[in-house]
Amino acid sequence: MIRLQGLSRRYSTARGTVTAVDDVTLEVTDGETCVLLGPSGCGKTTTLRMINRLVLPSSGKIFIAGRDTDGVDPVELRRGIGYVIQQIGLFPNMTVAENIGVVPRLLGWSTARSRRRAEELLALLALEPAQFLDRYPNELSGGQAQRIGVARALAVDPPVLLMDEPFAALDPINREVIQDEFLRMQQTLRKTILFVSHDIDEAVKMADRIAIFRAGKLAQFGPPDELLARPADDFVASFVGRDRTLKRLRLILVREVMVPAADGEGASGPCVSADDDLRRVASLFLEHDVETIRCVDDTGRAIGHVSRAAVAARLGSELVG
């Protein structure tokens, strides 16, 4: 668990004191992905960098697993926290295996052990170990390099990961792929992740909870659906966008609004799977101008239907999630 308590960071500039982070208090539970979201200059990155003490807080405290990080040697602290940055920061003088082995080596692992670990991680990230271990960063594509960046952060299996806009520099297609891979990986790894982003779609996709920042202050902190359904103020509402209801569709699965099949249900018209999210249902509604859409299982057998009324009721009444 990570707890930020009254955390502030002030800078003195020629034009007086600037407060980059202003009295932020929030708590991230173990195994949770918390996205720090906001426009540039809102203090989200500064907040992240205070957690591994690359930036020192002006006031306030940070607890990781109950321990005040103020009393920990920063170098020791950082070796136990995975860190991924937008520019990736792979060391071009080292091979992929050596890059992944940086922290293991700092902790005194043998070369053989850290190489085995690198192989494991590459396989986990769908990169063929034999092909990549001895490459240099200048022989990698952007997507491959960022996967190695993630592998490097996971090298010693730290419980906490800090990720500063890790996928922002990738092209949209690559970004989707690597986000999906990362979500799948997180389902088994259950790391406690703080993830900085300026992209509401990315945040909704990746986050268990989102912390929206505005001018150094925490504007709202809650699950994605809560932010989208009930923005706390005009700033949050405008940041999540006027199409926020459309964004919520991603968060709801067909099975949650489906009415199970009665006998003799019609066998024509468009259909979806129970594991699709409502984006697909909504687009079929618009496309076909129908009131209900059939749900089918893998074999194509009808198992139920989704009605417009059920979708509207779900979006209107309660929070999903």
Partner: protein, 247 residues
């Protein structure tokens, strides 16, 4: 795929030089100058040793000091002063080497010592500058990643900053050593000895054989030193940051 080709490419200039040298040697032999030159056999051996001592001492001291000072200037706590120091370094660099040797002679008298100090200063400056600039050119986000992963400042210097600056540092060392070897003959003028003795005396006496007996070994030495440092640069700079070895 071209790892095997690359050394071929980097040694090609030396092969061409070798061919030219052979042609010159044949020309000298045909014109009878070779016999003139070889009369100074003993002088050549003796003075070459002296020359090498001048180059080796001033050069190695310059490499050690230059890299150390360059690193020191690149440290964050030096940031306020480093620009000024580099400016001063650039100013001293612009003094002609002959002028530096003359200054050394007025400070330290004549003999090998002022020659070595003069050569040392001339050689030091490109190394300081390239070490400093090379380290400063390491992207900030790379250092940030290293720090965020839990490297101490020393580890960052040793494992990230220096390896990534090494190619530029080597370029400085090569430039510096070319200056050093090229200037060393002038040491004779302030009593430092070396092959300059044959060159300058040969010019004064209009003895072409004597002059060439000094000039040819000097030229060969310059080529040999550059070849050595070129090879060191090729093999010691990690492949991922070595433009000479990239495909």
């Amino acid at each position: 795929m071209t790892t095997a080709m690359a050394p071929g490419r980097s040694t090609l200039p030396y092969i061409v030089l070798g061919a030219i040298a052979l042609a010159i040697a044949w020309g000298l032999h045909a014109s009878g100058l070779a016999t003139d030159i070889l009369r100074y056999n003993k002088d050549i051996v003796y003075l070459t040793k002296q020359h090498l001592v001048l180059v080796a001492i001033s050069g190695s001291l310059a490499i050690v000091f230059g890299i150390a000072v360059g690193i020191w200037l690149s440290r964050p706590w030096m940031a306020r002063w480093s620009d000024g120091v580099i400016q001063a370094v650039n100013m001293v660099t612009s003094i002609p080497t002959l002028g530096k040797l003359a200054l050394m002679m007025s400070l330290l008298g004549i003999g090998p010592l002022p020659a070595i100090v003069g050569l040392w200063i001339a050689t030091l400056l490109p190394i300081i500058r390239n070490t400093y600039e090379g380290i400063r050119a390491v992207p900030a986000h790379m250092v940030d990643a290293a720090r965020g992963m839990g490297m101490s400042s020393n580890e960052i210097l040793k494992r990230v900053e220096l390896p990534n600056a090494l190619f530029v540092i080597f370029a400085g060392v090569r430039t510096a050593m070319a200056v050093n070897v090229g200037t060393a003959p002038i040491a004779f003028l302030i009593g430092g000895g070396g092959l300059g003795e044959l060159i300058f005396t040969g010019i004064d006496l209009q003895e072409h054989g004597m002059m060439l007996a000094g000039a040819i070994p000097t030229a060969l030495l310059a080529v040999a030193v550059d070849f050595l440092f070129g090879q060191a640069q090729y093999w010691l700079v990690p492949r991922g940051v070595n433009p000479l070895r990239n495909f």
